[in-house]
């Protein structure tokens, strides 16, 4: 779509065409275009809540492989992330808690040595993502000091307390679930389905969103927009209803 506006140029009225921002794509193939083998994929959600299952299915269909997936959990049952793992498309998973109820596929791959695991404390993972989105290459945190997760990390003391240097965790792609979106990519989220989504949306080169509701530009209260559209590249409308399991 294009919008015509009138502009003044050298005293004469001329018509100029300006491309309208429209991040809403019409197909899953369009949403997934360009995701490359070896990509680092940031996957929103905590358990099943706020996890963009339709985008995961789209990624499975799209075919990219040798992926690194950053996600709080490592998939449940045999669908969604678990299916992506099962298909052998994930080289490495970065997560805080792979031991969710029924993580069968991950456990099988892990025991067989077929997947690399980087365990990151949940808050350190969230902050590494936030740092990536905010242009901060690394930060110090007291989390994990003196534990085996501190191995190989620089340690410094501030005010008599020990801290570890943790590096930002940027993604090539972020897969996000939102509640509402407009064509600029402004987003809102539902209850505890925010979780990692807003912070991952800031941390990737390509942020792809599935949303329950698409609304007109201007319909979202500017004070309620949680992710401003500047962070978002593509939006797919997936009105699936409610997550059936937590």
């Amino acid at each position: 779509m294009r919008q015509l506006i009138a502009a003044q140029a050298r005293g004469r009225a001329v018509k100029v065409t300006i491309p309208m921002i429209n991040k809403i794509v019409q197909s899953m193939a369009e949403a997934m275009a360009g995701i490359r083998d070896g990509a680092v994929v940031l996957l929103g959600g905590f358990g099943n809540i706020g996890q963009p299952h339709a985008l995961l299915d789209g990624l499975i269909e799209q075919g990219a492989k040798d992926l690194t997936v950053v996600s709080n959990n490592a998939g449940v049952g045999r669908t969604g992330l678990a299916r992506l793992l099962d298909l052998g498309r994930v080289r490495k998973i970065v997560c805080s808690f792979p031991r969710t109820a029924d993580p069968v596929v991950f456990e099988e791959l892990y025991r067989a040595g077929k997947i690399e695991l980087e365990i990151v404390p949940q808050g350190t993972m969230a902050e590494r993502l936030r740092a990536a989105g905010a242009g901060i290459p690394a930060f110090f945190t007291a989390t994990a000091v003196g534990t085996k997760l501190a191995a190989g990390k620089e340690e410094r003391e501030f005010g008599g307390r020990r801290y570890l240097l943790e590096e930002a965790l940027p993604g090539d792609v972020a897969l996000i679930e939102a509640w509402e979106a407009d064509r600029w990519g402004n987003l809102t989220y539902k209850c505890s389905a925010q979780n990692f989504n807003p912070v991952m949306a800031t941390a990737a080169k390509l942020t792809i969103v599935q949303t329950q509701h698409v609304v007109e530009l201007g319909a979202l209260d500017p004070e309620k927009i949680m992710t401003p559209g500047i962070y978002v590249n593509r939006v797919v409308h997936v009105p699936y209803g409610e997550p059936l399991v937590p």
């Binding site: 805080s96 031991r99 949940q122 902050e127 945190t141 085996k148 989220y189 505890s192 937590p246």
Partner: protein, 226 residues
Amino acid sequence: MNFFAACKPMTRNEMAERLARDIPEGWYVNLGIGAPLKVADYVPVEREVIFHSENGVLGMGPAPQPDQVNRWLINAGKQYVTLRTGGSYMHHADSFALIRGGHLDLCVLGAFQVAENGDIANWSTSDNDTAPAVGGAMDLAAGARQLWVIMDHQTKSGESRLVRRCTYPLTAIGAVKRVYTNLAVLDVTEDGFAVRDMVPGLTLDALQKVTDAPVRMAKVNAGAAS
């Protein structure tokens, strides 16, 4: 075991109730998944203790009635919960900034072992475990102003969980301030474990027999939490 003939160890629910009594009104509290979550059952909603769940819920209320489940609202244990009046949501980076920034008055975690220097081991029982899973435990243990642990005094095979030094992988160093077991309530002090409270019929000598680390009576038995 003769030892238990003289006294009756607390049940999980009694331990949770005992701990809940020590939480002052007005505190912001994170309860770890598992046994610590039971503590909330013993804080009546009219007492304004605000529960935080690290997946981005502040002001978490009890489980919903089966016909009133909000499928978008879960706690860190991935169970459906409610939001009490005045509650709020936040994203993960803010939720852990709140933890790391020292804004929580208290975190309660379960543990495998607590050492007399306050070290805690609660996330992995061995280095050759199945896939390790740490979740938010390290962030909570390092970030909350106070860390209390609720756990059985001994393992099922009778080994003390209160130790001189943890043998399991650590969650945090020097973090634990108090331990609630099925036998006693103990403060972690600069001089090791100090007993605040024991189940009726238990003596310090008897408690020492089932505790790897040295225990002594607390100098002052202050009533509420310090």
